[in-house]
Symmetry: C2
Subunit: 241 residues, 2 copies
DNA sequence: AAGTGGTCTAGACCACACT
DNA sequence: GTGTGGTCTAGACCACTTA
């Protein structure tokens, strides 16, 4: 029934996830681990691994002695702040069909702050990319990215900056963006930003100030993003630790 | 070397975590799974379970073929928004020794919004608790909680509301708070809130608007919190999914 | 080539929840 | 008591990194 690659566990995870979203389980109760293991012809360990991954995602809850259940409220959330990656995808998940505007691309010497955050020397060249995400001519997100010019292999005029920044990084350097460490900051829109987002000056906006790291935990990217709270709201699950 | 309870896995997790925080690993490299299994006299599965939990916390990274490593940048973060639970603990982690003020406790009929969010009928009694968290007479957090009066077993005048709200819930009802579903909202401080947090009106504040759920995914608590961004900043890790 | 983490099996016993 | 998820074992093979 299942092939070798991707892993059995991953295939079974997808299989169960599909049944969940199709609402195929009575009362949100998922069959017992032993039952599924027999049914699908794999060991219970494999089933358990698949369920563990779904549990981490928040799709299910397990209750010792009682059973495993679909986690309905959490499945409803469209934009979990800890899970967003591409802004385009976030907007699509909200039901928008977004467009991306590249406002400006320039090469600048690194300020002391940016040099410090990216592990560069002050004055080293950095590439600064400004973008705007809109839906129906209404701006929703404003983003600014800084990355070391040393990682840019080709002339940047030739490049399509509409692709997500991490795709660009992977393509033009040998770097792979692994995770962001983000500060969550409430701000009052200053004139420049207010104009670009078409809100009145002083409007409360949500901002992310973040540094992106590669797989060796080296900083490779700084980003600053502003979100219109009236059009896009982020959510989060806070679990007991 | 290890006892039966808590589980072997949990003991080994703590054991490794302790070695990590004490910086006992050369170059942040953790011994191989096989090595630790032999060393500690348990099966490799048990070691792997312990490491998996540390990985979920973000304390380590595993690289197939290479090894397991301490995740230094993530260990540095003091206030991860997805991990906070008690505000008192958050402030302590920031190096403060906070005090808690109970501003007001009252019983009110539920508005339509609150009734809807808590699964009550409009007009049902709810208990409203307002608190303020300070450090050295400087207010840092403002919190308001709504909970169904029906779950309050005793007269609320007798109760010490300084304890975290989830402790109170567990004590006075049979409910256990399992997780919050939180909206992250940037706001401009209105006069009343600005006064209580001692900031000027219009200051950008971070707010959480959340609903707390019990283990059966039933809403049992509504909360609204305001944070002074200049004194307390939340962080988050955004991983690739 | 050697060593690492990733996957998978088959089986055992325990702790807890239902009824 | 019966069935559930939680823990744990011993062993096998695979995929990948490193030297």
């Amino acid at each position: 029934m299942f092939k070798r690659s991707p892993s059995l566990t991953e295939q079974i995870k997808s299989h169960i996830k599909e049944q969940i979203v199709n609402n195929e389980f009575e009362d949100g109760r998922i069959p017992s681990e032993t039952e599924m293991a027999n049914e699908l012809g794999v060991s219970r360990t494999t089933i358990r691994d698949a369920l563990s991954r779904l549990q981490i995602e928040g799709a299910i809850v397990r209750k010792q002695g009682a059973g495993t259940f679909v986690n309905e409220p959490i499945l409803q959330i469209q934009s979990r702040l800890d899970e967003i990656w591409s802004y385009t995808n976030v907007l699509e998940a909200h039901g928008y069909t977004p467009t991306v505007q590249v406002i400006d691309v320039s090469e600048e010497p690194a300020s002391a702050t940016i040099a410090d955050e990216l592990g560069l020397a002050e004055g080293d060249k950095v590439l600064v990319i400004k973008k705007r995400f809109l839906e129906d001519d209404t701006p929703v997100i404003l983003a600014r990215n800084w990355l070391p010019a040393s990682c840019v292999l080709e002339s940047y005029e030739d490049i399509d900056f509409q692709v997500p920044i991490y795709d660009y990084l992977e393509a033009c350097s040998q770097q792979r963006l692994n995770y962001y460490l983000s500060d969550i900051v409430p701000v009052s829109a200053k004139a420049e930003i207010a104009a670009l987002l078409q809100v009145s000056s002083g409007t409360a906006l949500l901002a992310l100030e973040e540094v992106g790291y590669n797989e060796n935990n080296e900083p490779i990217l700084k980003a600053q993003s502003y979100f219109r709270d009236d059009l896009l709201r982020f959510r989060l699950i806070r679990r007991r630790t």
